[in-house]
C-alpha cells in the first residue's frame, strides 16, 4: 500500500532522514519508536507530504506522491492524519469540524456529512458534544474527535503522530482504546508513539528509528524480547 524508497529529508543542511526504505502492507499496524530527534515524526509527515521530501520516492496505492504532477490533495483524502496537538479547527463546532472536509470536497452532501458525523460521534460517545467548540472539551475528547474527523473521509490508512503525547495521563486510555478499535476493524495504521504498551499489544510490526534511519524492525514480541541492535537495546533499557 505504501512503499518508501530511499527517502531523504534535510532541513537547512541538517539531514533528518537518511535513506529510509520501507513497505507497509494493507492492514498492517506499524508502530514507529525511537528517541526524540530520530526523525520518526518527519518520516510520518513525509508520507502525506506535509513535509516535502528532499529525495527518494513514496508510492501510495500505485502513485508516486513525490511526483510534482500528482494530485496530492486527492491522495491525502485517503490518508487520515492525527496530530499530537489535535489541531481541531478552533472556530468550528465539533460537528462542523467533521463535516467541513467531506462537504467542501464535495464527497458528501451536507445531509450525508451530518449523518456521518453524528454516527461517528455516537460511536465515541460524544454525540451530545456535537455543537460544542473544541476549547470546551478535554484533550482526550478533542483527540478522539480529531480521529473521527479523519475517519469521516473514509481513509485507507491512518497516520498518527504521537497522538497521546500532549494528553494528561488519565486521558491517554480513551484515545488508545479508540485506536485499538480501529486496529481491530482492520484499518492500516502507522503510529509514531512512545506508548510501548500500545506497540506491544496492537502493532503488527515495530520500527526502531535513530538518527534518520530505521535501525531495526521486528514483530512486537521479538522486538521487545530480543532486540538486536545495541542502540535499540539502549533505548529500550531507558524506557522500559
Amino acid at each position: 500500500m505504501i512503499e518508501v524508497k530511499n527517502l531523504r529529508k534535510s532541513f537547512k543542511g541538517l539531514e533528518v532522514l537518511r535513506g529510509i526504505n520501507e513497505t507497509i502492507a494493507k492492514g498492517e499496524k506499524v508502530v514507529v519508536v525511537g528517541p526524540s530527534g530520530s526523525g520518526k515524526s518527519t518520516f510520518l509527515r513525509c508520507l502525506n507530504r506535509l513535509e516535502e521530501p528532499s529525495g527518494g520516492e513514496i508510492w501510495f496505492e500505485g502513485i508516486n506522491i513525490c511526483d510534482p504532477k500528482c494530485n496530492i490533495n486527492r491522495l491525502r483524502q485517503k490518508m487520515g492524519m492525527v496530530f499530537q496537538q489535535f489541531n481541531l479547527f478552533a472556530h468550528l463546532s465539533v460537528k462542523e469540524n467533521i463535516t467541513l472536509a467531506p462537504t467542501k470536497l464535495k464527497i458528501m452532501t451536507p445531509a450525508e456529512a451530518d449523518e456521518k458525523a453524528m454516527q461517528l460521534l455516537n460511536r465515541i460517545g460524544l454525540a451530545e458534544k456535537a455543537n460544542a467548540y473544541p476549547s470546551q472539551l478535554s484533550g482526550g475528547q478533542q483527540q478522539r474527535i480529531a480521529i473521527v474527523r479523519a475517519l469521516a473521509m473514509n481513509p485507507d490508512v491512518m497516520l498518527f503522530d504521537e497522538p497521546t503525547s500532549a494528553l494528561d495521563p488519565e486521558m491517554v486510555g480513551e484515545v488508545l482504546d479508540l485506536m485499538i478499535q480501529l486496529a481491530e476493524e482492520g484499518m492500516t495504521m502507522v503510529v509514531v508513539t512512545h506508548e510501548m504498551g500500545f506497540a506491544r499489544e496492537v502493532g503488527t510490526r515495530v520500527l526502531f528509528m535513530d538518527e534518520g534511519q530505521i535501525l531495526e524492525q521486528n514483530t512486537p514480541k521479538e522486538f521487545f524480547a530480543n532486540p538486536q541492535n545495541p542502540r535499540t537495546r539502549d533505548f529500550l533499557s531507558k524506557i522500559l
Partner: protein, 221 residues
C-alpha cells in the same frame, strides 16, 4: 448661550458642521473599504510564498508607512490626480484608502500568521487545497483575532481624515475652523467638533466590541 447661538445656530452654521461631518464620514467609510480591500490583497500576497508578489506588497507597505499622511494626501491632490479634475472628496477617499491599505495589510498579515500552523496542516491533511484551507480555516480565525486592531485602524482613520483640510476639503475640522474664523470664537466650534469625533469613535468601538463578543462564542470554555 449667546456664543453657542452665534457659532452653531446663526446663519445656519450647524449646516456647515453637518456637511463637514458628512464628508468626514464619507471619506472614512470609503477609505476603510478601499483600505480593507488593498490590505487583504497585500496580506495575501505577503503570505503567498511568492517572492515577486511578496516583494511588491512589502515595497508598498514600506513606502506608504514611511511617508506622512498629509504629504501623501497632497501628492495625490496636487500631483497624481491634479490633471484629472477629480472631485476632492474622491481624491481624499483614494488617498486615505491607499494609506490605510498599508496598515490593514500588516494587521491582516499578523492575523493570518497568528493562526497556528497546525490548523493549516490539519486542513491540508484532510485533502483541502491551499486556497480552501485559507478561506475555510485560516481566514475565519484570523478575522476574529484581528478585529480589535482593525477597529483601532478604523478609529485612527476617522481622526486622520482631519488633515483633509490641507487640500481645502470641507470636512468636520475644516467646518469648525471656518466657523472659528467667522465668529472669532474658538471654544464652541472646536469643542463641538471634538465631541462629534469622540461620539463617532466611541460608537464605532462599541459596535465592534459587540461583534467581537459574538465571534468569541467558540472561545468560551
Amino acid at each position: 448661550m449667546h456664543a453657542i447661538y452665534q457659532n452653531l445656530i446663526a446663519m445656519d452654521r450647524w449646516k456647515l458642521i453637518l456637511e463637514g461631518l458628512g464628508n468626514t464620514i464619507i471619506i472614512a467609510l470609503g477609505a476603510i473599504v478601499i483600505g480593507t480591500l488593498i490590505g487583504a490583497a497585500m496580506a495575501l500576497m505577503r503570505v503567498s510564498g511568492n517572492r515577486v508578489l511578496g516583494g511588491i506588497a512589502r515595497g508598498y507597505i514600506t513606502v506608504i508607512r514611511g511617508i506622512p499622511m498629509v504629504t501623501q494626501l497632497m501628492i495625490f491632490n496636487f500631483i497624481i490626480f491634479a490633471p484629472t479634475g477629480m472631485p476632492k472628496l474622491a481624491i481624499a477617499i483614494v488617498s486615505f484608502g491607499v494609506n490605510s491599505g498599508a496598515y490593514c495589510a500588516e494587521i491582516f498579515r499578523a492575523g493570518i500568521q497568528g493562526v497556528p500552523l497546525g490548523q493549516t496542516e490539519a486542513g491540508r491533511s484532510l485533502g483541502l487545497g491551499r486556497a480552501q484551507t485559507m478561506w475555510s480555516i485560516v481566514i475565519p480565525q484570523a478575522v476574529k483575532a484581528v478585529l480589535p486592531t482593525y477597529t483601532n485602524e478604523f478609529v485612527v482613520l476617522i481622526k486622520e481624515t482631519a488633515v483633509a483640510s490641507y487640500i481645502a476639503l470641507m470636512d468636520l475640522t475644516k467646518a469648525s475652523d471656518m466657523i472659528r474664523n467667522a465668529t472669532f470664537n474658538a471654544w464652541v466650534p472646536l469643542l463641538s467638533a471634538a465631541v462629534i469625533y469622540l461620539c463617532l469613535t466611541l460608537g464605532l468601538s462599541s459596535l465592534f466590541a459587540r461583534l467581537e463578543r459574538r465571534l468569541a462564542r467558540s472561545d468560551r470554555g
